[in-house]
Symmetry: C2
Subunit: 325 residues, 2 copies
Amino acid sequence: MNNKAVHFSENKICKLFGISYPVIQAGMIWCSGWELASAVSNAGGLGLIGSGSMYPEILKDQIRKCKSATTKPFGVNVPLLYPDIEKHIEIILEEKVPVVFSSAGNPKTWTSKLKSSGVIVVHVVSNVRFALKAVEAGVDAVVCEGFEAGGHNGREELTTMVLIPMVRSAVSIPLIAAGGIGTGAGLMAALSLGAEGVQIGSRFVASNESSAHQNFKEEVLSAGEDSTILALKALTPVRLLKNKFYQDVKHLEDTCAQASELQHLLGHGRAKKGMFEGDLEEGELEIGQIAGMIKMINPASEILDSIVSEYIALKEEIISGTGKY
Amino acid sequence: MNNKAVHFSENKICKLFGISYPVIQAGMIWCSGWELASAVSNAGGLGLIGSGSMYPEILKDQIRKCKSATTKPFGVNVPLLYPDIEKHIEIILEEKVPVVFSSAGNPKTWTSKLKSSGVIVVHVVSNVRFALKAVEAGVDAVVCEGFEAGGHNGREELTTMVLIPMVRSAVSIPLIAAGGIGTGAGLMAALSLGAEGVQIGSRFVASNESSAHQNFKEEVLSAGEDSTILALKALTPVRLLKNKFYQDVKHLEDTCAQASELQHLLGHGRAKKGMFEGDLEEGELEIGQIAGMIKMINPASEILDSIVSEYIALKEEIISGTGKY
């Protein structure tokens, strides 16, 4: 691992968070608890707890467990539309969590309060317009998440390949690419396009430490190139596996059902049912297009190591000056 | 330009076509005539004539003009579902066109005939399944075109970021990335992801030599990040600018109209009306997401030069060993 230290020595994302590799593990609902977050942070990346599926007391417990499992920086992902958001923020401040990634909401509401308490704040966006708003709100960095990403997604359907250079040319703060990235090649591509780091979700779902149900992890491994779709556009667009629940959604969508009918079908607890309880038929299974390339469940540290090793090998190939480059 | 020769010395796409830079200009309907194709080939890339919008006699004339305008390799893009396909193939063979890019159809039908006459054959695909079929048909390379690309598009909606590594791990023939690429950064990202070259469409629409109507070229310049959409999915998915024609399509799609109603609205000649005749209201204006980054109309040679220069500067930044890499 020693030779890896020569890379990323001036990387702004590594400097911002105080980490070794510019790889962030996404704070995904039902999948990203303290075990995953601390494993990624201990391995030199930045692990995030996904608070969107946690009651405040659960979040507090998860943060405390994470702190006792790592001395490295870690963070919490906070969907700003979460009903108990005030309590979540209070706990984050009380527990002195060093980093917050906010998403799904207006970054103006909490950024200055968090920053005045010394928290590093990053906001997740899906277009240039939202990136500029995040800069205006004073965030330290933005995550730009493309159409290929799992879970909630932007309406413009901008892909990572296009979104990263567009945002790069509009803002000067550090930029983290997300969507379709799960390998060292993806990391190099993202940096080339203008990002300083990457956020990886799907590949960490299929890790030993992820709190996803084993059924869901195995379903991710069996995903092919046509297994995911961006659905529920009449509500909030979300990328998911095409299971029986999706077929029910599709039937409504194909017949131009009202948004209220879709909402009724979705109901409550679909994501928990699928991702946490392992109901592959009736649950909502959020995952990115890159799932089609994930073939093994590994310890999070091995996933991070392999991404960094692939990246270094690729960088050496570019530097060698022979071959296709 | 001399120092550029040290790059791509072993690049398989450069070797396959006998070109200096692994950049192919897409053979787009109504935009890619002999002036554009010969300009790109003369500048060291591979120019393609788009035969999909040409009657056989027009194609013959375009090929002859291209041959008299360049001594460098060039090619013709052939949509295999073109009604007069036999005549197109006959003309291509008679005129000894060195390269054919086929798309929209079964590569088995014509590949062996073309190859036995010495033509280099490349097929355009949107997923791994079609890439494997193209390999089986004996093509020399594949173009993998992602969701962000303009014009006709795949049903799986795989983005370039995900499609390239997926196909790379499935086939061993040279691979050309398309969709969302218009800069040197895009070229480096595509090579990192596993491609040997790139095909660029949208950026060459906005070139002096493109046969697109001036109105359409200027409309591309004014496109923003939310200006394109993948529409007409009930027929063949196509990415286009959201103009008045698209709003009419959207109205039908939002009300779950039959495919036949969409077909009736589409009618005949919509693409010609928009892209070639410059009717920005009633015409179909096919363009990729990258349009949002295109801000100037330039000579094709300058576009190619800037892509290669950006690429070389980026490569040197990676090699320098400082900074974010």
